[in-house]
């Protein structure tokens, strides 16, 4: 059997949790680690995802400010949702929710629908209409 046991075969580092991780030792034993060996910050995956999401939020904000997208899109990114999740929160179909990303459609919505979105994002209707 070929040896695949690189030197850096430690559990990946998590930023927050000491999740129980299993490893496979060279002598054929499986062990359950709870404490971790230290792995430098740059090796962790979590930070990167955070940065990507921050970038997405900022990009969404710019799109809303320049009038390409409606505030629903910005608040969706801000609360870490995606169209499926948001559609379940407001009780509309994903197709409808995606249509409301267009500023022209958004402007014509009924007050009840505004209220639904405001409840989903936990903000007031005023904030929903005028994002910062």
């Amino acid at each position: 059997m070929e040896e695949t046991h690189p030197k850096e075969m430690k559990p990946l580092k998590f930023k927050w949790f000491n999740v129980g991780q299993y490893t496979f030792e060279k002598d054929g034993r499986f062990t359950n680690h709870i404490g971790f060996d230290y792995i430098p910050e740059e090796e962790a995956l979590t930070d990167d995802a955070q940065k990507i999401i921050d970038e997405r939020i900022e990009e969404a904000r710019q799109k809303v400010l320049t009038g390409k997208m409606s505030p629903v899109y910005y608040y969706m990114e801000k609360t870490w949702m995606d169209p499926i999740t948001l559609s379940k929160f407001v009780g509309l179909s994903m197709f409808t929710v995606k249509r409301h990303f267009k500023p022209a459609k958004f402007a014509k919505l009924k007050p009840e629908i505004f209220q639904k979105y405001a409840n989903a994002f936990e903000i007031s209707v005023e904030e929903l209409k005028n994002p910062k």
Binding site: M1, E2, T4, H5, P6, E8, M9, P11, L12, F14, K15, W16, F17, N18, V19, G20, Q21, Y22, T23, F24, G28, R29, F30, N32, I34, E42, E43, L45, T46, D48, A49, Q50, I52, W80, M81, D82, I84, T85, K88, F89, A120
Partner: protein, 333 residues
């Protein structure tokens, strides 16, 4: 005030940990890997048409709830599972069952869990934890991802039990109603292995099992050309997160499954399973190699030879190894 003598133990994965700890409360010592294997938890599926968090769904395990259902059924443990439409009623019933001296497992959404750090939040509705006691307004929680038990308020608990979004928990709660004093592990283990081997190699559908791994590997080669650098690296990052970060015990449950085969060999007195467990460990190491090189690629620090083609090659290799393993495991008696 009620506080049961419930032993909190950390685990690699929330559902296995909860099941194992609940059985442990009734003096039935079944380890986490055994629960995972008996429940036939190992799986693979790649669904490019279903996007969550803006990336294709990649899953290294079966449907949530299945491990608990299958493993308890195989062991002859009787359970009760309930969902609710009224939050107040669900909390009343939870109180009543706790007062009878039964620890209760809950399915919750993680986004509003107060003890989860804000940076780790996501709309993930399939987390499991156990309530084992309560005071007036606070509940005692044993969450297997944390080192120590924690407390949560009535209001927060109600909120996370009725989190919205895909796979909403709807206050799902479960507890054990009758536990046999002794269980026969042998048939349960054999059935679990048979089921897993069928799931991985037998299902005639291209997106699941070993075929699914191959399919993902083929798609991975095209990502960069099809979606551009940024999106490709986000997709890769999402696969790695599902593989390593979301409580899998490492390498997409492959380590836990190896540990299970190792224990099963002792229980069944079949030495060939030990050899297969070593093969499984080697495969798991290969998966971890993929996640290491992949995470470097995500951050654009990878060497040129560690391209998507190279990574897809590793995944393809893993598929071949797993196919060999499960073809052998299908012959178990």
């Amino acid at each position: 005030m009620i506080k049961l003598e419930y032993e909190h133990r950390q685990a690699g994965h929330c559902e296995n940990g909860v099941t194992s700890n609940l059985l442990n409360y009734y003096h039935l010592k079944v380890s986490e890997p055994l629960i995972f294997g008996i429940g036939a938890g190992l799986f693979f599926s790649y669904l490019p048409f279903l996007k969550m968090q803006h990336a294709p769904v990649t899953s290294f395990r079966v449907w949530p709830g299945m491990i608990f259902n299958r493993s308890t059924r195989m062991l002859g443990v009787k359970t009760s599972i309930q969902t609710f439409s009224d939050p107040k009623e669900s909390m009343n019933i939870l109180d009543r069952i706790l007062d009878q001296g039964t620890p209760v497992g809950l399915q919750v959404g993680t986004f509003h869990l107060p003890f989860f750090p804000p940076e780790y939040r996501m709309h993930y509705n399939m987390h499991n934890m156990v309530v084992y006691g309560r005071d007036n307004d606070t509940y005692l929680i044993s969450d297997t991802v944390l080192e120590k038990p924690v407390e949560i308020s009535y209001k927060d608990l109600m909120r996370v039990r009725f989190a919205k979004g895909p796979f909403a928990p709807k206050g799902r709660m479960y507890y054990l109603t009758s536990v046999p004093e002794e269980v026969n592990l042998k048939p349960a283990i054999i059935k679990g292995i048979e089921k897993t081997a069928y799931n991985m190699t037998g299902i005639p559908f291209p997106l699941v099992g070993v075929k699914g791994i191959r399919f993902m590997s083929r798609q991975m080669r095209k990502w960069q050309k099809k979606y551009g650098d940024e999106k490709a690296s986000y997709y890769l990052g999402q696969v790695l997160r599902m593989e390593e970060e979301i409580g899998t015990g490492g390498a997409g449950f492959r380590y836990i499954y190896g540990a299970f085969l190792n224990e099963a060999a002792d229980v069944l007195n079949q030495d060939w399973l030990k050899e297969i467990s070593i093969e499984m460990g080697v495969t798991a190491n290969r998966w971890r190699e993929f996640s290491y090189l992949g995470s470097r690629n995500c951050k654009k620090r990878g060497k040129p030879e560690e391209s998507y083609d190279f990574l897809a090659g590793i995944v393809y290799d893993c598929a071949a190894k797993e196919e060999a393993i499960f073809k052998k495991l299908r012959k178990i008696k």
